[in-house]
């Protein structure tokens, strides 16, 4: 096992210190926004600062009891991102007269409480492996929900929303998690089988047709999302998630090649068949063509205005509250990166991107450290999906790739996205706890954690008599 022994100290005090720093950043940004609008310390400000501080500290306290070896950097990073996201949404509210910040705060609270619930209820991520196929069913349900007549709603041409009691919700965000759980469970159980069978062509070993099942399922889900929900961004996200997890499970580049081949075929066919995909690509390539710029809907006006915003920010930015991010449509959701680039400049935006880099890296670190294959796959999948989402969003805003309507994790206005991403963070925290927790040398603590660990061991050894690394790792416990 290439297991690097990390420090086995809990490091919760460092987390608390960093957390205070993150809160100062987020609340400070919100204060600057208020100062700029000549309304610094009103009730809203204290409610927002108090709520964020209270619930984030609650997470910290829960971690002290439930997962005291969890990575101490993850929670502060996410808190900082959520905090400055709230500040920017508040700032854009002031310019546009919306009141998105209040609902974003409410959703932040809901999402963080959900994260606490995950920490309290699940306790050990390995339990989730039991729910492999249930997760598949839930994923299918979540993806189909927006298509159910009467429940699903089409917003901006994408059929990815459901309306419940006046609230719109994007079930696809949560499907990221359930799909990751399914794939982690399925692949950690079947990876040996998939690995051993198959033909070798040159240096590449290709899988058996029968083992292509999950790959095809992934492909179908992605294409289905693209075709029925008209959501290119989520489609790319799901497919990227599958590809990363299949690669990590098999370590076979051939799978990635097959996947990319399928993507290319699917993408090409989609471009031919579906105008919304073709329009996206056209407004990406010909963004500065007057006809494309003025086309409504589906023109490049949004992306071009976003680029203008970024350009006007330059190196140092205009300063919070001094730019005109309100000139870009969806400034507080899809285009929030452009708003940050404008007001905080290249330096500020780079700092934000570095926070994501650190967050994703800590997720991967948890994947490396944890001893079970399921946890490794799950952590990798969840971390990669955050990274990929950042890539798709920021790449779209900067015209590196076509712009798709995805949220920027933790920052964009949007409850579903916040909820899903905070649950992902809870899972990563649990996995990192398992990864950093010292291997028990004495008798195992007498709590239900033992039961949770023993179940997968039994299952794995029954199914796979050949020794995979994951099985071995679990056995050692």
């Amino acid at each position: 096992m290439s297991q690097m022994m990390t420090a086995t100290k809990p490091r919760r005090n460092i987390e608390l210190l960093l957390l205070l720093l993150a809160l100062v950043t987020g609340i400070g940004a919100n204060m600057l926004v208020g100062l700029e609008a000549d309304q610094p310390f009103n009730d809203d400000f204290f409610i927002q600062a108090g709520t964020l501080t209270g619930i984030v500290l609650a997470v910290h306290i829960v971690l002290r009891f439930r997962a005291k070896y969890a990575d101490p950097v993850i929670l502060p990073i996410v808190t900082a991102l959520n905090g400055i996201g709230l500040a920017m949404i508040h700032r854009i509210d002031l310019a546009t007269g919306q009141s998105a910040a209040a609902s974003q705060l409410l959703w932040s609270a809901v999402a963080i409480i959900a994260a606490i619930a995950v920490l309290l209820v699940i306790k050990d991520h390995r339990i989730l492996r039991r729910f492999t196929y249930i997760s598949l069913a839930v994923s299918a349900l979540l993806l189909v929900l927006p298509l159910v007549p009467g429940l699903g709603t089409q917003i901006n041409g994408a059929q990815i929303w459901i309306m419940v009691a006046g609230y719109s919700f994007q079930p696809g965000e949560v499907a990221k998690i359930t799909l990751a759980i399914f794939f982690a469970g399925y692949l950690s159980t079947n990876r040996d089988l998939i690995l051993l069978a198959g033909k070798k062509v040159g240096p590449l070993q290709f899988p058996r047709v029968a083992d292509l099942g999950p790959m095809l399922a992934a492909w179908l889900v992605s294409i289905g999302v693209l075709v029925f929900q008209r959501d290119l961004g989520s489609s790319v996200l799901y497919f990227g998630l599958f590809m990363a997890m299949i690669y990590v499970a098999t370590s076979r580049v051939s799978w990635v090649l097959i996947g990319l081949g399928l993507t290319a075929v699917g993408g090409f066919v989609a471009m031919q068949l579906f105008s919304h995909v073709a329009l996206r690509i056209d407004s990406w390539i010909n963004a500065f063509d007057p006809e494309v710029y003025n086309r409504a809907p589906g023109g490049s006006g949004q992306i071009v205005q976003g680029l203008f915003g970024l350009a006007s920010g330059g190196l140092t930015g205009t300063g919070l509250g001094q730019g005109r991010p309100d000139l870009v449509s969806y400034a507080n959701s899809d285009m929030i990166i452009a708003a940050f680039g404008e007001e905080l400049g290249l330096i500020g935006l780079s700092a934000i991107i570095m926070l994501y880099v650190l967050l994703v890296t800590r997720g991967f670190r948890a994947a490396l450290g944890t001893r079970d294959g399921f946890g490794k796959l799950l952590a990798t999948g969840l971390s990669f999906v955050i990274g990929l989402q950042c890539f798709v969003v920021i790449g779209g805003v900067t015209r590196l790739i076509p712009l798709t309507g995805l949220t920027t994790p933790f920052m964009s206005a949007g409850g579903s996205s916040l909820l899903a991403n905070w649950i992902i963070i809870a899972l990563l925290l649990l996995i990192s706890d398992a990864s950093r927790r010292p291997v028990a040398r004495g008798p195992l603590p007498d709590d239900d954690l033992t039961a949770a660990t023993q179940h997968p061991v039994a299952e794995t050894s029954k199914q796979n008599s050949t020794n995979g690394a994951a099985t071995e790792a679990v056995k050692k416990q």
Binding site: G314, G341, L349, I353, F364, F391, G395, T398
Partner: protein, 478 residues
């Protein structure tokens, strides 16, 4: 499996690297190009969306920014619109900024480099950066009279304090309403602009300092007179030849038939100026030569760049003149072109002992908290002649008003110095009528320069002389 995790991490990092590269490209390398893009209204929004400073006359705002409920946040307002249009100019989304809105743009927007320290202090103290206000030297009462004097005619008026160069009034007609060009509805602004500029006399020109300029006619004789007195060939007592006409073989330059010039075939400077005879001054120019007349004109400001801080079109006295062309030019005809401000500067030199103070329209620039930050000091523009000659010419100019053809400008109990001018235009019977002068002659409070164009002699005379009288009276009554 761990190796695959590491590889996947590398891919994730590679994606972030790509994204960082893209952000750097857009925000740094491509930023200038994107900022210059025609679709990029951000600079405009920034410029137009700021609380721009006011332009003030005697403490009252004549141009200011008012909060508006559109995406620009502020609307520029001109009050009263037409009276100060040529001074303020307009601040238009479509046509940019003109006049003071243009030349004082950095102060009005608060971005001038000399205001850097103030700006930094404002930033540190948490104040919003706001524009600086610009106070003018204009006297609102004189400005109204100046407009009134011109009435429906096309022309211009300049009233100036000869001792410090302060411009007390500067009017140009026809005028326009800058509010019509400062609106945020661009199609409406374009329509208004086309309507304004379709007039036969373009109202956008500030005729006092720019536009097609005017032939000065006889007011130019002051420069001939100074040139003569500065030369060795003439003295104040010289007797000038005053033939009824000068023949140039095919063309002859006459004295004005209806004036008093015909009474004498020889004339003193006093008489020649009083009756505005042409041939004595043509003779002076022919004797001194074109170069010396041109040099004298240049000392008075012809051909020189000037900003007050509005940019003034230099007046023109052509090169290499001789014969008939020189004779005609000496009486302000042919290709000599001037601005009413230049003529006011000429009178100011006579009024101020031979020294022209640089004309100045801006009195004080004030910070948003009304602290004065700069206030132009009076500067000498040039010294075209000596106090002796200036006083001599003043005396003769008093005679023009007291005994000569400028009597319509006379003010009871006050010595007014003046000179009339009439320049013939290409259309027969149409003239530019001029009056320039100052009062009181011994202690000049203000110089006046008035021109109306495209009028017959009588109409012009009824406007410019009495107009000057009204303006000078208003100054003296203060």
């Amino acid at each position: 499996m761990n190796q695959a995790i590491r590889n996947t991490w590398v891919i994730a990092i590679a994606m972030f690297a790509l994204v960082l590269g893209a952000v750097t490209y857009v925000q740094f390398f491509a930023a200038d190009e994107l900022k210059a893009n025609a679709w990029n209204n951000r600079q405009l929004y920034k410029q137009f969306g700021s609380d721009r400073g006011s332009i003030l006359v005697d403490g009252k705002q004549i141009a200011f920014s008012e909060p508006s409920n559109d995406q620009f946040n502020y609307q520029r307002v001109y009050d009263p619109g037409g009276l100060y249009a040529h001074l303020t100019g307009y601040f238009s989304l479509v046509y940019g900024a003109t006049a003071l809105e243009d030349v004082m743009g950095e102060e009005l927007s608060g971005e001038a480099s000399e205001l850097f320290i103030d700006r930094a202090m404002a930033m540190l103290s948490g104040n919003q950066p706001r524009g600086y206000s610009v106070g003018l030297t204009i006297d609102p009462e004189l400005q109204k009279i100046a407009h009134d004097v011109l009435g429906n005619h096309s022309g211009a008026v300049v009233v100036m304090d000869p001792e410090n160069g302060d411009i007390l009034a500067m009017a140009s007609t026809p005028t326009y309403d800058p509010n019509k060009l400062a609106g945020h509805n661009t199609s409406e602004v374009v329509e208004n602009y086309e309507q304004i500029t379709s007039a036969s006399k373009n109202p956008l020109y500030n005729r006092a300092i720019e536009g097609d300029l005017y032939a000065p006619g006889s007011v130019f004789k002051i420069i001939d007179t100074v040139a003569a007195l500065e030369s060795d060939e003439y003295s104040p007592d010289s007797t000038l030849q005053n033939p009824q006409q000068i023949d140039f073989g095919g063309y002859s330059l006459p004295n004005y038939a209806q004036g008093g010039c015909a009474a004498q075939s020889e004339a003193s400077f006093a008489f020649a100026l009083q009756q505005s005879c042409n041939t004595p001054f043509a003779n002076i120019a022919l004797e001194l030569g074109g170069e010396r007349i041109q040099a004298e004109a240049q000392e008075f400001g012809f051909g020189q760049k000037l900003s007050i801080p509005l940019r003034v079109t230099p007046s023109v006295f052509p090169d290499d003149l001789e014969g008939a062309a020189l004779a005609q030019s000496a009486i302000g005809q042919r290709d000599v072109r001037t601005t009413p401000l230049q003529i006011a500067m000429m009178s100011a030199a006579i009024a101020n002992d031979g020294t022209i103070m640089k004309p100045q329209l801006v009195d004080t620039v004030r910070s948003p908290d009304l602290e004065p930050v700069s206030s132009p000091e009076p500067q000498t523009f040039s010294t075209p002649t000596s106090p002796e000659i200036a006083n001599q010419v003043t005396e003769w100019m008093v005679g023009v008003v007291d005994e000569g053809i400028g009597s319509s400008a006379a003010i009871p109990g006050v010595e007014v110095a003046g000179k009339t001018g009439t320049a013939e235009l290409a259309v027969p019977g149409q003239n530019n009528s001029w009056f320039t002068g100052f009062a009181p002659a011994d202690d000049p409070q203000a110089v006046v320069s008035i021109v109306v164009s495209d009028v017959d002699v009588q109409t012009g005379g009824q406007i410019v002389g009495p107009g000057a009288k009204r303006l000078l009276e208003a100054v003296l009554n203060q």
